[in-house]
Amino acid sequence: MTKPTLDRREILPQLFPSTDGYLFISGLAGPARDAAALTGDSEKLYTMAGTMGAAVCMGLGVALSAPESKVAVITGDGELLMNVGSLATVASLQPENLSIVVVDNGCHGETGGQPGHTALRTDLEKMAEGAGIASTMTITSPDELADGAKFLQDATGPRILVARVLYGPPSDFRRNLDPAACRLRFRNSYLATA
């Protein structure tokens, strides 16, 4: 496998040059910090700080219920593997408006960087393809970020972009961790404009 050269803190702003029209759901830990940094922890983002494995299906629930919105799930390799069957659930429904970005650092960064399966033999893009996700892509270096952004904008949905990144700290961003306050923030904002 190609050695990654991407710094995780730099990928989301380049993959989403504009966040207009997007609703974001992120799983726990590093991807939540990166997503919070991208949006300024906005009302268009719901992040988790537990419930590992829930992000893809929460994003699916949003995508099916708000078909006019673009929905992006930001998750990690450990979280996706914990509920990898959700890729099959997404594939069977084919929500055109759903994108999944996997920040794949090949380890469990939040708990001390213990190696994960993707550092060994597991390839998440192939698993997504096997599940039946319409469009899949893997990037490993900064010069592929522009193509990644184009993929998220233009590829047939649902689409999954696996960004293999260097092991390193996530974005340094403190977000709101109150799940009830964040639910109301997201919901009220969406319903005010829907």
């Binding site: 988790m48 829930a54 699916l60 629930g61 219920s65 919901r187």
Partner: protein
């Protein structure tokens, strides 16, 4: 699709879900929800969602709520054991989700493998803060369904409609 039965409780339950503006019916297949899923497949305003594991449905119901829609999660009682961690955001986030649990491992069960989760299902759900509405007889179905729908979508309380084996009838092993 099978023809409606004289005592078609699934149709009664389904009609109440439609009336309450539920638009997504997520499920792991079980004999107890088979007809509900058939009805969802045949209805324009209800989308059935086949899950690989029950906990996915907890997250899908929460996602629907985030944009003001209503979803339910249907499963056999053994699937309750797959859900508790995800019920953390239901409890902590006060997501009003509704589960429909068809029981195994209670009244009349013949399979020893079903008893442990059958006995644990309700205590687990209660421990995670869910309200239980139990259906033991045909007369319970309408009031328990109304109560669960009101508690969830009007009262904001995560709830479970438990269809007991006394109500559903036990699977026969030969």
């Amino acid at each position: 699709m099978t023809e409606p039965q004289p005592n078609d409780w699934s149709a009664q339950l389904f009609d109440k879900l439609v009336e309450a503006d539920v638009s997504l019916l997520s499920y792991v297949p079980d004999a107890g929800n088979a007809r509900l899923v058939e009805l969802a497949e045949a209805h324009n305003d209800m989308r059935p969602i086949l899950l690989t594991t029950e906990e996915e449905g907890v997250a899908i119901c929460a996602g629907a709520d985030l944009v003001g829609k209503r979803a339910v999660l249907c499963m056999q009682s053994s699937g309750v054991g797959n859900c508790p961690n995800f019920l953390s955001f239901v409890k902590g986030g006060r997501f009003p989700i509704l589960m429909v649990v068809s029981m195994r491992g209670d009244y009349g069960e013949q399979n020893p493998w079903q008893y442990p989760m059958g006995e644990a299902a309700e205590p687990i759900l209660e421990a995670m803060g869910m309200l239980i509405f139990r259906v033991d007889t045909p007369d319970d179905l309408a009031p328990a369904t109304d109560a669960a729908l009101s508690a969830t979508f009007k009262g904001g309380q995560a709830s479970v409609l438990v269809l007991s084996q006394r109500f559903l009838g036990a699977k026969q092993f030969k």
